[in-house]
Amino acid sequence: MRIVGMKETISLIKKDSSVMIGGFLGCGSPDCIINEIVENEISGLTLVANDTAFPEMGVGKLIVNKCASKIVVSHIGTNPETQRQMIEGELEVELVPQGTLAERIRAGGVGLGGILTPTGVGTVVQDGKKVVTIDGKDYLMELPLRADFALVKAKKADYFGNLVFSLTARNFNPLMVLACDTVIVEVEEIVPVGSLSPDEIHIPGVFVHYIAVGGRLQ
């Protein structure tokens, strides 16, 4: 684990990478890293996120500034620009039920080859997927999701990278930390090793590759 400056985070992320970004309608997104991506005009990203937030917020900024060519999300209804780019054919959108998205990211992080879920059976989500019947009930076989980079936001880290999230800013962040080759965490504060109780740590530091202190934008 290495502590880097906020500007340095961006040198790690290459054009055309796949990137998971934490947050739920902007709450708990790594806003400072997102700003760096926008400023450095990185493009062609495949984004995995819960939603595309609002045009001026979180993942929404990456859409408005055309950093993404594909997104895998559960919801785009709060960002008209996402809908426009999708309709114009500028942006490929894969819609995934939110719970299935969470389980697929988890599966990618914990080494499962797939999961069987009833969500989506009999709907358009079923298209092209294998249906498995167990004890008379149908399930979709959903496959794991992984990405090159996780960009997540935590409230604080210690110098070993142990993470503590804040309230509903937790959401998808802990799941994404396990599911990506390189994990970059934006925190508001780094605290001394030993100052966090082992029981209050939400994610052990062993998953984390880079930490950058970003302060608090809102």
Partner: protein
């Protein structure tokens, strides 16, 4: 007369029991939190990861780290608990959620709900709707009976469906309807409407309960 949306929300409030874990969707369902019957305590879950969500904060006491599933700042009631998205949907998909109340675009005579997209016109994505309808113990649809005069309770959904699971109750400003394996049962009607009027605004055939009551 009471506003149609408030009437729907108030009626749904009476479906809740003490100790229930409840998820309310955006729109009419949100109003249900104003009509919790006296003497019972229900817990509100929000799919972004909280049980025990409280009302909007006082001005100047908002914090961007504590929001609801609509992205609005909220408060945390005493005893509230926070968790990640996997746990949030474990609650929903694992059958631990007692009641979900969602809006609807269409419900058909098999009790199948469509509420997440209108092809070519509105594609917001399903968010957590498919998980909620598939996983909750009880699914209640809260919607106006018609849209621009057109029935929303139809023979067969023409819109993409949300789940193949039959919903448990449909509450509109005119009727309380319970889907059952044979069709749709009209259980309650607005006191100012006749069964014939309700049927005329409903494309699907309604069976009428023997003990048909007035909505309260």
């Amino acid at each position: 007369m009471i506003d149609p949306k408030e009437r729907i929300a108030r009626r749904i409030g009476r479906e809740l029991s003490d100790g229930d874990l409840v998820n309310l969707g955006i729109g009419i369902p949100t109003l249900v939190s104003n009509y919790i019957p006296a003497g019972i305590r229900v817990f509100f879950q929000s799919e972004n990861g909280i049980i025990g969500m409280g009302p909007l904060p006082e001005k100047g006491m908002e914090n961007g780290d504590l929001t609801n599933a609509g992205g609005q700042c909220v408060t945390a009631l005493p005893g509230s608990a926070i968790f990640d998205s996997a746990m949030s949907f474990s609650i929903i998909r694992g059958g631990h959620l007692d009641v979900t109340v969602l809006g609807g675009l269409q419900v058909d005579e098999n009790g199948i709900l469509a509420n997440w997209m209108v092809p070519g016109r509105m594609v917001p994505g399903m968010g957590g709707a498919m998980d909620l309808v598939t996983g909750a113990k009880r699914v209640i649809v809260a919607m106006t009976h018609t849209s621009k005069g057109n029935p929303k309770i139809v023979k067969k959904c023409s819109l993409p469906i949300t789940s193949n699971r039959r919903v448990d109750l449909i509450v509109t400003e005119l009727a309380v309807i319970e889907p059952f394996p044979g069709g749709l049962m009209l259980k309650e009607k607005a006191s100012d409407a006749t069964v014939e009027e309700i049927q005329s605004l409903t494309e699907a055939r309604l069976f009428v309960a023997e003990d048909l009551k007035d909505m309260v």
